[in-house]
Amino acid sequence: MQTLFALLVAGRRSFRLAIPTVLLAVVLALPATAAEVKRVVSPGGIEAWLVEDNSNPLISVEIGFRGGAVLDPDGREGTASMTAALLDEGAGELDSVTFQEELNDRSISLRFSAGYDRFGASLRFLTRERDRAFELLRLALTDARFDEEAVERIRGQMQASARRRAQDPSSIAWTALGRLVQGEHPYGRSARGTESTLAAVTADDMRAFVKDSIARDRMFIGVAGDITAEELGPLLDETFGDLPATGSATVIPETSPRSEGGLAIIERPVPQSIAVMAQPGITRDDPDYYTAFALNYVLGGGSFASRLMQEVREERGLAYSVYSALSPRDEGGLIVASVGTRNDGVAESIDIMRDEWRRFAEEGPTAEELADAKTFLTGSFPLRLDSLRGIAGMLLGMQMEDLGIDYIDRRNDYIEAITLEEAKRVAKRLFDDGQLSIVVVGQPEGLTATLDAPSGS
C-alpha cells in the first residue's frame, strides 16, 4: 500500500510536493566527469555516445526519440504513455508473461517513458546479459505485439492512476494550471491521459505512434559502462538497424502561454491549500538559458538559501514545500512555482511569493547571491555523474539538446561567464509577477478568484 509507509522516513528536505508532470518536463540534468566521451558510429551508420567504465559488470543505455505526448491524437491523450507501457508487454514470439519473465529472470531493467517532447527507453543490465538485453530492446522497439489482454490490463492500470490523480490536490492543481496556461495547445493536455481519453486509445493508435515516431532520424543514444566502442558498434546495427530510417513529420505547434495573470480556485475539503503558478519562460536553446538557470536557483530553485524558501518557510513557517523551477520545452517554456500552506495562510504565502517575484525582476540577484549560485551550480555538476545511469542520461541529453560532445568540459564555463549585469537584465526580461497564472486547490481563506478554473478540473 503506498499509503502505509509514507511516513517511514520523514525527511526534512523532500520539499517538492509532487512532480508537476503536466508542466514540468525534465529539467535537464547536466553532470561532469573526467571520463572520455566517445562518438561511436556503427558500420550501418547509427550513432551513439559512449563512456566506457568497467568498474562494475554493468551497462546502462538511455535512448530518446523526439516527439512524445505532444503528438497524441485529440481525444486520445495518453496514447504515447500507453505505448510506452505496452512495448515491454510482449514482442515478437514472446507474449507478455514470457517477455516479462525473461527480463526478470535475467535481472534486465527495461522501461519506456513518454514526455511531451520525447519518447524514452531506459535499459540497464549485467554484462553477462548484454546480447540478450539488446535483443529484447530490439524486439520491443520493432515488433511489439499489443495483444488484447495486455492492452486491456495496462489500460485498466493507467485509468486507475488517472482516477487517483483526479482526486489528488497537487495533481488537480497542476492539471488545471496546464490547461489554463497552455490553452488548447497539446502542452495543456495531460500527457498520461484521463480515464476517458485512455478508454479511447486503440492498439492501432499505438501501432501508428510506433510507426511514426520510433525512427532513426529522431533517435539519440547514450551508453555508459562495461562495453567498448568496438563491441557497441555492431550491436547498434543489430538492435536499431531494422527501425525505419524516417518517421512522419512531427511539427509541434507554436505556443503562446498565457501571460495575462490571474487566480483560479478549485474548492476541495482539505486542510492545506496547494497553490501552483506559471508564467511564460524560456527554451533550452535561448542564449539566456544559463543565466535563467542560475536566477531560478537564487529565487526558488532548491537550496535553503533561496529567497522563496527563506521568506515563506524559514522566516514565517508557512510551508514545508515552496519552490520555483524552469520548465523548458521544445516550443516555449514556463517558469513555475508551488507552495502548500494551511488554508488560512495560503493568501499570505502567495503574496510573499508575488512580492519576491516582483522584487527579483526589479533588482535581480545580489552579487553575493549570484556568486553563491555559481559556486553551487559548478561545484555540484560532478555529483550527477556518480552512476552509470546518470552518465548515460547525460550523454543522451547532450545530443538531444545539441550541446556538443565536449559539453561536459565547457558547461561550467557557461555558468562562470554570467555577469551581475547580465543577471539583472535577464531577471527583468523574464520574471513578471503580473504574468503569473495561479491555481489554488483547497479551501483558501482571504483569496478572491479572478478566473474560472478550466473546465474539466
Binding site: 500500500m1 502505509l4 520523514a10 492500470q157 490536490p169 492545506q272 556518480d386 552509470l388
Partner: protein, 453 residues
C-alpha cells in the same frame, strides 16, 4: 509497466531494497568491502572506497528515532532533525547549509523509527569541511524560540502534506497504530498533531542532550577517499567530542493480539480504492526462528510483474490493477510483512479481498512453486552489482543496518544467507507469518461512492 511499480511502496521500496542486494556469487561473499574502525569516544566509522567520481557521501547516523521518544512528545525526533539546521555556538542559523551549497554540495536529513541521519554529497576535497561542521552540531547546537517556533509550523505543514491532506496517509497512520497497539512503532514518525503543537525548544534540547553523542552514532563515508584519510579527519573533528552516557533503547514489547483488526476509510478524495493486510514479522535483528532471510525471498517471489500476486490477481483472475507483497525487516524491533491490491474498475473490494485471502491460504497450504526459489535468489544476489553502481547506496545500507542492531558482517554476508534459504524455509516462514490471523490489520481505502452503493 506503469502501475504495478508505482503503486506499491514508494519509500518502503527504497528502504527495503537497501538490504536487498548481494554479490554475484557466494565465493566473493563480500558486497561492499568496507573498512571500519572505532574512535576512542565510541564513534563507529565505516568507509567504502569508490573512485568513479571525485565525490564523497558523508553520512552521520544517530541510533535514535521516533520509537525512542518520551510518551507525549511524539514527533520530537523529527522536529529535532529539522532544528539541527538552526545553528551552533560557532555557526549561525542555516550557515552550514550555505557553506555546503557554496561548496557545490547537496545535503539532506531523515528520520525513521530507529534512526536519524544527516548527510552531504560533496567533492572529495571538501570532506574535511563537512566533518568539521557535522561534528560541531553534534556537540554545540544552539536553539531559541525565535528559530524553533516557525520550524514547528513547518513540520505541521509537513504533516498536512503527508497525512492530513491525503486519505491514504490518514488510513496508513491508523493501520500502523492498529498493528502496534503498544510498541512505539504504532506512533507516526512525524508525530500526532496535538502533541506536535506543544513541542518546545526545551523538549528538543532534552532529546538532543540525551541521545546525540559520538558513542551513539555511526559515521559512514563512501566514495573517493581512503580509510586512513577518513580516520585521520574523524579524529580531528568528531574525536574531540567526549563520550557520554546514553540510555539503553529499551522499547516496550508488542503483546499478542487477541483479535484481527480492520480499519476502513471512505472519502470523496479517494480516486482509486485499495486495501492491504499487514502482519507482524521477525526483523533481521529480532529473529528468534531465523526466518528473516526466507521472508526476503518470499516477498521477492510474491511481488513484482511476474510475482505470484500479480500473476494470479492481475493477469489471471483480472480482479486487480495492482497486487503484491512486501517485507520490512530492517527494524530494531518487530518487522512487518504485508500484501496489497487495488481493484479493477467494476470489481468490488470485497471480491478482491476474498481472492487475495484465498491466494494467501493457497501459499500457506501448498507452498510456493519450487522453480521460483532459485530465480528469486538469483535476482536478489544480482541486485548487489547494481547496488555498487553509486557510492551513496553503500552508505545508506550500512547506516540503516548499523543503527538497527545489525553488523557489517550481516550486510557483507547477506548474499550467502540468501543463498542458503531452502524451499522449506520459505514455506515455513510463509506459514508462520500468514497464520497469525489475530495479529493482522486489514486497511481498506474506499471511494465515498463505493461505500454508498
Amino acid at each position: 509497466m506503469p502501475l504495478s511499480r508505482a503503486f506499491g511502496l514508494p519509500l518502503l521500496a527504497v528502504v527495503g531494497l537497501l538490504l536487498s542486494f548481494g554479490p554475484p556469487n557466494a565465493a566473493q561473499a563480500q558486497v561492499f568491502n568496507p573498512e571500519s574502525g572505532v574512535l576512542d569516544n565510541g564513534l563507529q566509522v565505516v568507509v567504502v572506497t569508490n573512485r568513479r567520481a571525485p565525490v564523497v557521501t558523508h553520512m552521520l547516523w544517530y541510533k535514535v528515532g521516533s520509537a525512542d521518544e518520551p510518551l507525549g512528545k511524539s514527533g520530537i525526533a523529527h522536529y529535532l532533525e529539522h532544528l539541527m539546521f538552526k545553528g551552533t555556538e560557532n555557526l549561525g542559523e542555516g550557515e552550514f547549509s550555505e557553506i555546503i551549497a557554496r561548496n557545490g554540495g547537496r545535503e539532506n536529513a531523515f528520520t525513521s523509527f530507529d534512526y536519524t541521519g544527516y548527510f552531504q554529497i560533496v567533492a572529495s576535497d571538501r570532506l574535511a569541511l563537512m566533518m568539521e561542521h557535522e561534528a560541531d552540531r553534534m556537540a554545540n547546537l544552539v536553539l531559541t524560540d525565535e528559530v524553533t517556533l516557525p520550524e514547528r509550523d513547518v513540520i505541521l505543514e509537513e504533516r498536512s502534506t503527508r497525512i492530513d491532506n491525503q486519505p491514504g496517509g490518514q488510513l496508513g497512520e491508523m493501520s500502523r497504530a492498529s498493528l502496534f497497539v503498544h510498541h512505539p512503532y504504532g506512533r507516526p514518525i512525524i508525530g500526532w498533531r496535538s502533541e506536535m503543537e506543544q513541542l518546545s525548544t526545551q523538549d528538543a534540547l532534552d532529546f538532543y542532550e540525551t541521545w546525540y553523542a559520538p558513542n551513539n552514532a555511526v559515521l559512514i563515508v563512501a566514495g573517493d577517499v581512503s580509510f586512513d584519510e577518513v580516520m585521520e579527519l574523524a579524529e580531528k573533528t568528531y574525536g574531540k567530542i567526549p563520550a557520554r552516557d546514553v540510555p539503553e533503547r529499551n522499547r516496550v514489547v508488542e503483546p499478542p493480539h487477541w483479535a484481527p483488526q480492520r480499519v476502513s476509510l471512505s472519502s470523496d478524495q479517494v480516486g482509486q480504492p485499495s486495501f492491504s493486510i499487514s502482519y507482524h514479522a521477525p526483523s533481521y535483528n529480532l529473529d528468534p526462528e531465523g526466518q528473516a532471510y526466507a521472508l526476503e525471498v518470499l516477498s521477492e517471489i510474491l511481488t513484482g510483474n511476474t510475482g505470484l500476486f500479480y500473476d494470479e490477481l492481475v493477469r489471471d483472475q483480472k480482479l486487480a490493477v495492482a497486487a503484491g507483497a512486501y517485507y520490512s525487516g530492517d527494524s530494531l524491533d518487530l518487522g512487518t510483512f504485508g500484501v496489497y491490491a487495488s481493484p479493477v474498475a467494476g470489481v468490488d473490494i470485497e471480491t478482491l479481498e476474498e481472492a487475495t485471502r484465498a491466494l494467501i491460504d493457497r501459499v500457506v497450504a501448498e507452498g510456493i512453486p519450487a522453480e521460483e526459489l532459485e530465480k528469486a535468489k538469483r535476482r536478489l544476489t544480482d541486485s548487489a552489482v547494481f547496488a555498487r553502481d553509486d557510492a551513496s547506496t553503500a552508505a545508506r545500507v550500512f547506516g540503516q543496518a548499523l543503527t538497527s542492531g545489525l553488523t557489517i558482517e550481516d550486510v557483507e554476508d547477506w548474499p550467502n544467507r540468501i543463498e542458503a534459504v531452502s524451499l522449506e524455509d520459505v514455506n515455513a516462514a510463509a506459514r508462520a507469518v500468514f497464520s497469525d490471523s489475530t495479529g493482522s490489520v486489514t486497511a481498506v481505502l474506499l471511494r465515498a461512492d463505493d461505500e454508498r452503493s
